[in-house]
Amino acid sequence: MSLGNYVHRESPIHRMPAGSKVLILVIGGTALFLVPDLLIMITILAATIVLYRVARIPMGIMVAQVRPIVWIFVLIFVFQLFTRDVAFAGMVVSRFVALLLLASLVTLTTPASEMIDAIERRIGWMRVIGVNPAKISLGLSLALRFIPVVAKITSEVREAQRARGLEWSVIAVALPVIIRTLKMADDVANAIDARGYDP
């Protein structure tokens, strides 16, 4: 699977199991809300940036994680500035940036396929509540298989509609795509059953 925001590097963070990374993110993210002080928060933010160095993620990619929502940081900062003070505003914003960077770091250092494997290994208990984990696995795999197929069919249909000047019409594109892929889905379901799927 090459699809994804994953950045391939050799690093200890890349080698960490996906599940541990997510667990640390959840615990660490929650802990961030208990930090009361600007200075400590800035130290944490600096440590997060060091983690990007450890993971050998280029600075440009790190900045790109934050850039699309810089305006929100500005908004938050200004708003907190009016209601509280500079120190508090600075803390809220640096906490948010740290949180966002940590979350992105997990995504940048873990291939989607590894993340999905980690999910599949941890859903065995769902059998207890009447959910068959094998069916969840099949759904995940099928979605990954369908994404490029549906994208290809969509571009084929748009091509065909271009001849009629309808390539930008959502209905003229979506409707044939949906009908075609629903028929495909019936065949796929048949093919799965034909190969003896019996979870």
């Binding site: 699977m1 090459s2 795999s141 099928l142 990954l144 298989r145 490029p148 197929v149 290809k152 495909m184 065949d187 796929v188 048949n190 093919a191 799965i192 059953d193 034909a194 190969r195 003896g196 799927y197 019996d198």
Partner: protein
């Protein structure tokens, strides 16, 4: 041996097959007919994907209505469009799928996947994304996925319709060299010439059932 006994098939009020009885025991059997003649539905009866409205389909003594599991083990099915048959995003995952359904241990699955891929020189594609393969490669992967399960019969529904000439020939060779009994639905009359038996469907019935040379000559005559 596959026995079709007085089978009729209806979708709602539409009749697809009417009182068809056949015994299939030859090694290479072709099913021919125009679109809508019922030949694809007939193919789907053979592995229980479609159950007859009336009558029975019996494979080696197993009734498709009662012994679905046994039937699927015995009768492999290759679809017209390999895109719809390849279920998994990576080639080896797809081949392993049917074997997992047979509840084989992982090391046996691993070995059988390797065997299946090497049969048609596809080992290099083991870790490839399925959607990056060409049409001919996809059809070979689809066939390999079915053969890996070691069925006794393989039903192929228009396996060459979507392929170019070179890949048509390749798939024809592959079918030719199968150890299994092959039942092939096809429009491609040329590659049916060295089959054992050709059955022609028209208007929900069998109208011709003969050796290829006779059957194909009569079929072409009927069409003109």
């Amino acid at each position: 041996m596959i026995e079709i006994r007085n089978v009729s098939l209806n979708y709602d009020s539409l009749s697809v097959l009417r009182d068809v009885s056949l015994t299939l025991s030859e090694k290479r059997i072709a099913i021919v007919g125009s679109n809508g003649s019922g030949k694809s539905s007939f193919a789907r009866l053979l592995n229980g994907l479609q159950l007859p409205t009336e009558g029975t389909v019996v494979v080696d003594g197993f009734d498709t209505k009662k012994d679905g599991k046994q039937i699927r083990k015995r009768v492999g099915f290759v679809f017209q469009n390999p895109d719809n048959q390849i279920v998994f995003p990576v080639v080896d995952e797809d081949l392993a799928f049917g074997l997992k359904n047979l509840k084989l241990p992982p090391e046996v699955i691993e070995q059988k996947v390797t065997e299946a891929l090497s049969r048609y020189d596809l080992l290099a594609f083991r870790k490839h994304a399925s959607h990056h393969l060409s049409g001919g490669q996809k059809q070979l992967i689809a066939i390999s996925g079915v053969l890996a399960m070691e069925p006794r019969y393989v039903v192929l529904d228009e396996p060459t319709t979507l392929l170019d000439l070179r890949n048509k020939r390749r798939i024809a060779e592959v079918i030719d060299s199968l150890e299994q009994t092959a039942i092939v639905v096809s429009h491609d009359l040329d590659f049916l010439r060295n089959f054992d038996r050709v059955i022609v469907f028209e208007d929900c019935r069998v109208v011709i059932d003969d050796t290829p040379s006779t059957a194909l000559a009569r079929y072409v005559e009927r069409l003109s």
